[in-house]
């Protein structure tokens, strides 16, 4: 873990923000171009996994602490459910696209298609948190190491 290559560290520091922005683009334009919440969320997570691999789990845990990743996961799931329940209240059935019925936007524009972008964002947030958590936990586990200590230092920071 100590002898990381300087080149890999510098290049990954430059690349991670671009990967992150690409993930955001895939999520936000999910209803206009190929992509959507799921692949976008995995790309967002992969930006942090790049940091995790190149600069260590301490640095990645500092950028996206465990508790915050868990909160992303929960929030995404709850927002998706809330949109579904709002559809039940306002549109008559669960998960109905009530916003599209109330305010039909111009097709092919960013603010169109009602609840679809909201759900895309929720799923993206959820997958981002979930995948990052899973990878972080798998990288903390090490044969003969002390996984509890690694987790604790990350939670404190």
């Amino acid at each position: 873990m100590k002898n990381r290559s300087l080149i890999v560290q510098r290049v990954s520091r430059w690349l991670a923000p671009f990967i992150f922005i690409y993930g955001l683009q895939v999520i936000l334009y999910g209803h206009l171009s190929p992509g959507g919440g799921f692949p976008g969320g995995v790309i967002l997570a992969s930006a942090f996994i790049l940091i995790l691999l190149s600069r260590g789990k301490e640095e990645a845990g500092r950028r996206l602490p465990l508790s915050r990743a868990g909160r992303f996961d929960n929030t995404g799931a709850l927002v998706f459910l809330a949109v579904g329940l709002l559809g039940l209240v306002l549109g008559g059935s669960f998960l109905v696209n009530f916003l599209q019925r109330l305010f039909p936007g111009r097709p092919f524009s960013l603010l169109s298609s009602g609840t679809i972008p909201i759900n895309n964002l929720a799923i993206g947030l959820k997958i981002w948190g979930g995948i990052f958590l899973a990878v972080l936990f798998l990288s903390v586990l090490r044969v003969g190491g002390d996984p509890d200590r690694g987790l604790k230092t990350m939670e404190e920071e």
Binding site: P39, D73, A77, N120, I127, L133, P147, D148
Partner: protein, 190 residues
């Protein structure tokens, strides 16, 4: 087009066989990655960019994870090669598959003709005709995933949520029993 697809599929089959037959763990993982990237290229050729993006992204993450977890195990073999009984069983399965494919494949529609086109009242034609008007989403795949079939997506999200939850719970438990501090804790209780 079909020649390209066929060569890609042959490449994937060879990579899958290598993944099964190789004795080194790391080579098996990398061959598995080749299968995944091949299928991503096939999706792209078949004009399914949504699937291709998802496949390649998940493949990269899975490959990185698998390589990372197997890296300090590399050099370690994974048992002996396939035994004679296994080879015979695989051969028998291939034979049964080929016989059933002989009957099934001629009935499949040609490449590029959707099965759903044969049925007039199929939902896919309805989605294609009125998807943009009903959902306002220019990307029809997203329209189906998050509007027409949003229940499916909710279930999928729940599955991932449960999977992450289960993985974290199991790993926490494993942490407790495998690390020195956890072992001391358990012995103290006894």
């Amino acid at each position: 087009m079909e020649a390209l697809l066929t060569s890609l599929l042959v490449f994937m089959i060879i990579a899958a066989v290598v993944a099964l037959a190789t004795r080194e763990l790391l080579s098996a993982v990398i061959a598995l990655g080749a299968v995944g990237f091949g299928s991503s290229a096939v999706f792209l050729l078949l004009r399914a960019p949504d699937l291709a993006i998802t496949q390649i992204v998940v493949e990269v993450i899975a490959l990185v994870l698998l390589i990372r977890t197997t890296l300090h195990l590399s050099g370690r073999g994974i048992g002996e090669g396939p035994s004679g009984r296994r080879v015979r069983a695989a051969g028998l399965f291939c034979l049964a598959f080929l016989v059933s494919a002989l009957f099934a494949l001629p009935r499949l529609p040609r490449l590029g003709e959707p099965v759903m086109e044969r049925i007039a009242s199929a939902p896919s034609s309805f989605y294609l005709e009125r998807g943009l008007e009903l959902t306002g989403s220019a990307n029809l795949v997203t329209a189906i995933l998050l509007d027409f079939r949003a229940y499916d997506t909710l279930g999928e999200a729940t599955i991932i949520f449960t999977a992450v939850l289960g993985a974290l719970t199991l790993l926490r438990k494993k942490c407790l029993t495998s690390c020195p501090a956890g072992r001391e804790l358990e012995e103290g209780e006894r």
